[in-house]
Symmetry: C2
Subunit: 206 residues, 2 copies
DNA sequence: AAGGATTGAAAGCAGGTGCTTACTTGCAGT
DNA sequence: ACTGCAAGTAAGCACCTGCTTTCAATCCTT
């Protein structure tokens, strides 16, 4: 279905944003190669030439998406702020809840990232380096603290952080990408609690 | 580079196998849409018409790959056989080692599966249902046993099994697909031990 | 050695795709 | 109201891609 308001003329910036938004949706659904500029134009309710007026090559759309999704600081700031008051176990519940809710709110972004990784574009690389590693390092720091306090066992914090991220991310990916939600349904809150139970007790000194 | 032995003529079955093998490599590298039948022909050292003699449509190649990778029983049988003597902790080390070594031996297959999931072909669906769920159910059974023996806490075995699988699979995927092995290098054996430490102690009654 | 069957190549077609060119339409400032 | 400029379109080019057709080379059987 073409766009909601088939407004005839738009200011350049407004039009650019709209085109990028449409491209994001279609790249997430069909990948970069699987999306034609004709289809982007159709969905945006414009002619193809407009796209090439603003983005000299199709690749340019990908770069605009990278700008839009890798330079906003809201997401991670929001999380790290929300973590400030929390201690011990709660931090892990907070991180897992954050990741899962981000995926549930916009499942298409994970498809976009995965396509980008497979098709070897820069989006996944930049996003993971800028956003993913930031989160991992935050967790590593928290884990290191708990080890220093003698609450956690002395395991490699980098591996431990990736173990927890693995549980949570693979849950999201398998639910959406492999469409496991057809066969495996549990309330997210129960899944999160179980993951944190396993991880936190697994790390704790006995 | 075209194929090793540019043998002029081949028997039909032999040629079919060769074409499927080439297609698998290219689909894993560039996806179904990103691979042209011309390129498959070139890599196989034949003309395009030969491909369409054996596979009436490009789609047919995908189905042949499904046959080749989803109907062999060697992989899983080998694992479950190897697990037979093992108890408790060792079983999880065995499973993790098995999964990681399969990925290291043929990293391209994971790309193929992921492309298939994104492009909504049947390969990933069939493979995961036939191979993935089998492994998960095997783990669930083992976990249930340990709960019944009073060794493990009474957590949902389905969630627990997926927690462990998540750690291991996401490690493999992030290493290869997101090319994390550039930034995160640990011996696989250390990673496996740490994962199992966390999971096994996390599940254990205290 | 003959002849039918099978494997293979060469060329091309119809439709699709990224991108360009040449042109028209509507808006803002005077 | 006029006009200069930015926003938009229609048409098409050159190349690509799945797939077909037509015909030549090679093998197997007798």
């Amino acid at each position: 279905m073409p766009n909601q308001k088939p407004k005839k003329r738009m200011a350049a910036d407004e039009r650019k944003d709209q085109i990028v938004k449409v491209a994001m949706t279609l790249f997430a659904r069909n990948g970069f190669r699987g999306t034609t500029t004709r289809e982007i134009a159709r969905q945006a309710g414009i002619s193809e030439a407009v796209i090439f007026k603003y983005f000299s090559k199709k690749e340019g759309l990908y770069n605009a998406i990278i700008d839009a999704r890798c330079n906003d600081t809201q997401g991670q700031d929001r999380l790290i702020g929300a973590m400030k008051g929390k201690h011990g176990r709660e931090v892990f519940v907070g991180i897992a809840s954050f990741i899962i809710s981000e995926h549930r709110n916009d499942p298409s972004f994970m498809r976009l990232l995965t396509f980008s990784a497979l098709e070897k574009h820069d989006l996944s690389e930049i996003f993971i380096k800028r956003k993913g590693l930031e989160l991992i390092e935050f967790m590593e720091g928290h884990i290191k603290g708990l080890i220093r306090e003698g609450i956690f066992k002395d395991l490699d914090p980098a591996i431990a952080a990736r173990a927890f991220m693995g549980m949570v991310l693979h849950y999201c990916i398998s639910q959406e990408l492999y469409r496991m939600k057809r066969y495996f349904k549990r309330p997210d809150s129960v899944v999160i609690d179980t993951f944190v139970d396993i991880f936190f007790d697994g790390m704790r000194r006995r």
